[in-house]
């Protein structure tokens, strides 16, 4: 089986769908001839033609409006927003149109679109190339939000997203494109080469949305994470010495509530980890759900480890970024109550 980094895995997913379904179209800023600023669409135009993979005007609202219209017609557009930080001009299209179309039209119209967007920090991108806006979308009923953490998952989840009849936001943790990143920023870069989660089949396969992965089994605490934070969590758990269970949510809507609940009921402790700022973040929802469903099994208060409530700061990247040390401290804290 070929080894792929996340860029290659995503490229392979698009290639598979372009080849097996003429309704699939791929477009966005710089995605055509050039192949995208992160190279995710590299070679797709040459292979599948300019009508299947093409450049768009620099108009996020226009890109998503166009995608919705195409979806309504019956195509399966995959639109790229070059950075998640630039998705907000399309917010009205996503919230007021794509998410509600099926509902408000009594099921007459729907928008089976996939919106891909590189997201998250750890690359010294400052406040305009680092944000994690997933909570804004998780709050909107009618759209699904997916965030992969490995090349294997990225391909299987992207194919599933494209084949969904509902609109899907697909956030790609850009710090994971070239290798797993566990937050130890002062250590040598690692690549995906040779790692089992980088073994990606060439052809079509799907990972269903709404199915979390238990990355590490454990008995003493549950860590809930997604995207880059899955790798940070592995390192933080290792540093803490706590026998923690690590759950990679993979999609935050739909949320695999059963896997989350079963784990916390087993361990009695829960730490939530995300890169986005804390107040009103997705962790707040997770925390509420866990206490509603597991309150009597909890041995200690739920902890959240998140980005601080500031914009993403350039020079303070590693002060802001919730790294393994902060997770380890939170794990030790929840273990104080036994």
């Amino acid at each position: 089986m070929p080894s792929m980094n996340m860029i290659q895995a995503l490229n392979s997913a698009l290639d598979v769908k372009l080849a097996d379904d003429p309704r699939t179209l791929v477009f966005g800023e710089d995605v055509g001839y050039f192949g995208g600023v992160f190279r995710v669409t590299e070679g797709l135009q040459a292979k599948h033609g300019t009508k299947r993979c093409f450049d768009t005007p620099l108009s996020e609202g226009g890109i998503i409006a166009t995608a919705i219209g195409m979806g309504v017609y019956g195509l399966r557009p995959v639109a790229e927003i070059q950075f998640a930080d630039y998705i907000l001009p399309a917010f009205d299209q996503i919230v007021s149109e794509a998410a509600r179309l099926r509902y408000r039209s009594g099921g007459e119209f729907w928008a089976p679109i996939t919106i891909r967007s590189p997201y998250g920090g750890g690359i010294f991108g400052g406040q305009t190339h680092s944000q994690s806006p997933e909570a804004l979308f998780a709050h909107v009923v009618g759209i699904k939000t997916v965030i992969p953490s490995t090349p294997y998952d990225a391909k299987g989840l992207l194919i599933a997203a494209i084949e969904e009849d509902d609109p899907v936001i697909f956030f790609e943790p850009k710090r994971l494109y070239n290798g797993p990143f566990d937050g130890r920023h002062d250590q040598a870069l690692r690549t995906w080469a040779g790692l089992p989660e980088a073994e990606v089949p060439e052809g079509h396969y799907k990972i269903p949305l709404g199915k979390a992965a238990v990355v590490r089994e454990g008995a003493e605490a549950t860590v809930l994470a997604y995207g880059t934070m899955v790798h940070v969590a592995k390192a933080g758990i290792e540093d803490s010495g706590v026998d923690a269970e690590l759950i990679d949510l993979r999609s935050i809507v739909p949320l695999d509530i059963e896997t989350v609940t079963a784990s916390v009921q087993k361990t009695g402790r829960c730490v939530i980890l995300h890169e986005a700022s804390r107040f009103g973040g997705y962790g707040a929802e997770l925390s509420a759900l866990v206490q509603e469903r597991c309150f009597w099994m909890l041995k200690s208060p739920i902890e959240r480890v998140c980005g601080w409530d500031t914009p993403y700061p350039h020079a303070f990247e590693w002060d802001y970024f919730p790294g393994p040390a902060r997770l380890a401290r939170a794990l030790l804290k929840v273990m104080e109550n036994s």
Binding site: L25, K51, T56, P57, S59, G61, G62, A65, T66, A67, I68, G69, M70, G71, V72, Y73, G74, L75, P77, P89, D92, Q93, S96, E97, R100, L101, R102, Y103, R104, S105, G106, G107, E108, F109, W110, V141, G142, K144, D165, D166, G210, V253, P254, I257
Partner: protein, 405 residues
């Protein structure tokens, strides 16, 4: 040297309540119709059109006359009258507490009706809430339409939408929303998809003149122009966006049709109260779209006779009799007079038709009220939870259980 102080300009409409009605900011010669170039003409040779006015009714020998068969014009007249009667009836129904909200298109009926008839049944319209004549012209069942207004048990939209925000896929009528302009780009995307698929269908998108200030309007024009989308983009310039006169959308500087110039697409300015001019301009733009010559922007110059909605009182911001001074007249009267003058219609037949339509409407309303007017009947509450996603997730399942349904 002392520099003169700058001063900020704030546009004001030519007349407010108590003033004499004026339409100074509009400039057109009512006696002359714009020339009619062949629809294959390159855009570079069409750049005078946004400043003219396409007219047929009342203009001797207009080149734009579509020479419609009398029965087609009579059908158009019937749908326009039906629209007006329908809207008058449900505006009153609001006063009687039978609907929660309503919107009229009085004075603008020709636009939705003529375009609905001029385009193919398989073409797709992305409407605003002021073109319900589109549905009536295509024979949408009256009772079903009223059930939507009443949000009752038989509401085709299951009680989820405000009255008038219809959706009617089988009638080429896309789902409406109260957000302005956010569906203009869907018309472009749909048209691009049709072109990509080698289909023959084209799209029509609508916005009002106020909405031309939204980014979504310019985004849609950009995409339509860049990808030569087979789409007709219509601006219904009815002079008022709630209480905001068209000057605040830029009407003092240029025409809305002229917005097309910067995008390199043809722009037509059309008498929006002239059934035949609307028909003809629509066919002209449709011919271009069907021949892969791309989009056309059409401004329909019209006048919103009624308030914005049942929640609006236009006498608070414009002269009460402003509509009577509107230079382009009443679209229903103009088509009727044309038919009568040509010997294809009589005042008696008009009266008889109005009586028939009135009875038909009364019957349909009665039938809908047997189901229930607003608040007297509603769809099963389970419909609140359906269609959020194609398949419900656990949140919906749990919340339904919590509500006991």
């Amino acid at each position: 040297m002392k520099k003169p102080p700058l001063s900020l300009y704030i546009p004001q409409p030519p007349a407010r309540p108590g003033d004499k009605a004026r339409f100074d900011h509009l400039s057109f010669d009512l006696g002359a119709a714009a020339r009619m170039p062949d629809w294959r003409t390159p855009e570079t040779e069409l750049r005078d059109l946004p400043y003219g006015l396409v007219r047929v009714l009342g203009v001797e020998g207009s080149a734009w006359d579509p020479h419609l068969a009398p029965e087609v014009m009579r059908k158009g007249l019937r749908a326009m009258v039906q629209t007006r009667l329908f809207e008058d009836r449900f505006f009153r129904a609001h006063r009687q507490g039978k609907v929660s909200f309503f919107m009229k298109s009085t004075g603008e009926e020709a636009i939705g009706v003529a375009q609905s008839m001029a385009l193919e049944p398989s073409d797709m319209c992305f409407p605003t809430y002021r073109v319900q004549g589109w549905l009536l012209a295509r024979g949408y069942p009256l009772e079903k339409m009223i059930n939507q207004l009443y949000s009752n048990e038989r509401d085709p939209l299951h009680g989820r939408q405000l009255p008038v925000l219809y959706s009617a896929r089988d009638y080429g009528f896309y789902s409406l929303s109260g957000n302005l302009g956010s569906r203009f780009g869907h018309a472009v995307g749909w048209a691009m998809a049709s072109a990509y698929s080698g289909d023959t269908r084209i799209a029509l998108g609508y916005v009002g003149e106020g909405t031309t200030a939204e980014g979504a309007f310019h985004e849609a024009l950009t995409f339509a122009s860049v990808y030569r989308a087979p789409v007709i983009l219509a601006v219904t310039n009815n002079q008022w966006a709630i209480s905001t006169f068209a000057g605040v959308a830029g009407a003092e500087r240029t025409t809305f049709a002229a917005k097309a110039l910067a995008y390199g697409i043809p722009g037509l300015r059309v008498d929006g109260n002239d059934f035949l001019a609307i028909w003809s301009a629509t066919c002209w733009a449709a011919s271009r779209a069907r021949a892969n010559l791309g989009p056309t922007l059409i401004e329909f110059v019209t006048y919103r006779v009624a308030g914005h909605s049942t929640s609006d009182d236009p006498t608070r911001y414009r002269p009460k009799d402003e509509g009577e001074h509107w230079p382009l007249g009443d679209p229903v009267e103009r088509l009727k007079d044309h038919l009568i003058a040509a010997g294809h219609w009589t005042a008696e037949r008009q009266e008889q038709m109005e009586a028939e339509l009135f009875d038909e409407l009364r019957e349909a309303q009665k039938a809908a009220e047997m189901v229930g007017s607003f608040g007297k009947s509603k769809p099963p509450v389970s419909e609140m939870f359906n269609d959020v996603f194609k398949d419900p997730d656990w949140r919906v399942t749990e919340q339904r259980r919590e509500l006991g349904i």
